[in-house]
Symmetry: C2
């Protein structure tokens, strides 16, 4: 019998595919199966693909399920059912609903004798860890989070609903001068417009009125009206060539004062050529932690804030102290 | 009776003074006393100053001792004695000796029923955490640590031993073009000379031969001979005006590949106007964690790699999930 951590993937979109790729880089895992709501026979894959209805047959055969559904509807439905049978890790990212999601899962996991680790990724996730570190080390200070340059799915969808738009993508771009200002430690309050701008690439339908499209996007409430928004019209070919990637990233910057007036600054940043592949890699590292916590006898819901970094590594505590401290 | 965490400081140099300042920013702590080897009556302080020989009278009255001695001789002598009576946190930073120091303290702390948290600060410390995070999230990758711009005490001492030198200070400066190269993800091996340069400010004695001083510094084995070194001669006034601070900082950069060939980058950096005040602030946050671990019944030696970030904050787990995730 193998000593590997036996994992399953639930959901085979960008995130699920990213987890499959990440597992191939981590030799202490064994991917048992990928569960999907689609017809598994119609999916091309090298891993074992099963319909989600077969998941209960794997009870006791999978140590951690890595949940790769969306936060809007998939995870709130799936996670409480799956955590009854398996330890889980997910990337639930609806910030405002985290407390209730945690509390609900904590009850189910405790009564089922499992662990449900939630909101793993980079924001929430690694950025949350850095926001916490910033405020404990520099309590007299202020932190700023900038996102991007990266594709916002919600804003891209909003563009594509505009009349005359054939295809569109929206990048959220942090404003460099705002980042530089923050780095000086001036601690000014910044409006949303001062922190980020929105850059859109639009493929218009034949004969569409470009001026109308531009106006409708720039003045769209909630999405664009409060930002500096730039609309660029491009061809379908340009769209396919230059805008099919899913880059993202961002900055968590904490500036603060120690002593009387000493300036100190901490900064964490990510530059990601693929947002889903990176998020997947974080999920896999934390799946390792879930396995260990479970082995120790821990039960219930957890977040990244509860987990020591040593649990993320396949190395022993001795190796980590020797090589990394 | 107060619910505050009762702490003591051992050692009242730059680090001890920084801890005293940091405690003033954290209202859940109460500083009971500062212990020193010097004559406490001759030290100017607002806190209670006691001779180190009185420390055992405080057994049971102090929850965590924050040890602010040096790593070369103070900590290896003091920590095993103090951890017999108190929980401790220290900034032991002799990287090569961490395994044996840990092992020795672990034995003493376990048999004494205390916790000894070692090697807290930024390197080792926050940089170690980021090196670990980098290798677990991007296992197919490479990390680079750059230090500075910052004063190196050892190199400054070496300058001051040169004949004809009245005073001197040395800054270790990361080479910007090397940082930029690393950020591109090219993963080239860099020699020590390619990563950092050394910039010296020297106040010569009256009538000293400046060319001799410059040659001796630039060719000093181990310290300078393998680096690009610049020697600047300045006056005592300039030294006092511009070089009395203790700035430091640095970068931990991890670049890696996910999937087939997707570039991903993680970066953590610090820009510190006072190295000891920042290190002290990290020590205080981790003293809070030591208190909580002890209350939970944990015993023995620990490092930052073993401690969940939630233990660093005075906020409840609920507050942290709501505000920071």
């Amino acid at each position: 019998m193998s000593n590997k951590i036996r994992v399953g993937i639930v959901g085979y979109g960008n995130l699920g595919k990213g987890v499959e790729l990440s597992l191939a880089q981590n030799s202490d895992f064994e991917l048992e199966a990928i569960f999907t709501r689609r017809n598994p026979d119609k999916l091309v894959a090298t891993s074992k693909m099963l319909h989600i209805s077969e998941i209960e047959n794997y009870k006791g055969k999978i140590d951690v399920m890595i949940l790769c559904g969306g936060s809007a509807t998939d995870l709130p439905q799936q996670t409480p059912e799956i955590v009854k049978m398996f330890n889980t890790v997910d990337s639930f990212d609806t910030h405002a609903k985290i407390p209730e999601y945690f509390s609900m899962l904590d009850d189910v996991a405790k009564s089922s004798g499992t662990i449900g680790l939630i909101s793993v990724g980079w924001d929430p996730g690694l950025f949350s860890l850095n926001r916490l570190l910033g405020e404990v080390v520099l309590p007299r200070g202020k932190d700023y989070t900038f996102w991007g340059k990266g594709v916002s799915q919600g804003h891209s969808d909003a563009i594509r609903r505009v009349k005359g738009v054939k295809n569109g993508v929206q990048y959220t771009v942090p404003i460099e001068s705002a980042i530089e200002m923050v780095r000086t430690g001036k601690n000014k309050e910044l409006s949303i417009k001062e922190k980020h701008e929105r850059i859109c690439y639009v493929v218009p339908e034949d004969g569409a009125n470009l001026e109308d499209i531009k106006n409708e996007i720039e003045n769209m409430p909630n999405y664009f009206a409060h930002y500096n928004t730039t609309v660029n019209f491009i061809t379908e070919e340009e769209m396919n060539k230059n805008h099919k990637g899913m880059p993202h990233g961002g900055f968590v910057i904490r500036t603060g004062i120690t002593g009387e007036s000493t300036n100190q600054r901490m900064e964490f940043s990510l530059k990601l050529d693929s947002n889903p592949e990176f998020t997947s890699s974080v999920l896999v590292a934390y799946a390792r932690a879930v396995y260990r916590l479970y082995k120790e006898g821990q039960r219930g819901a957890r977040t990244v804030l509860d987990i020591p970094f040593s649990y993320l590594s396949p190395k022993s505590a001795e190796e980590l102290r020797k090589e990394l401290l």
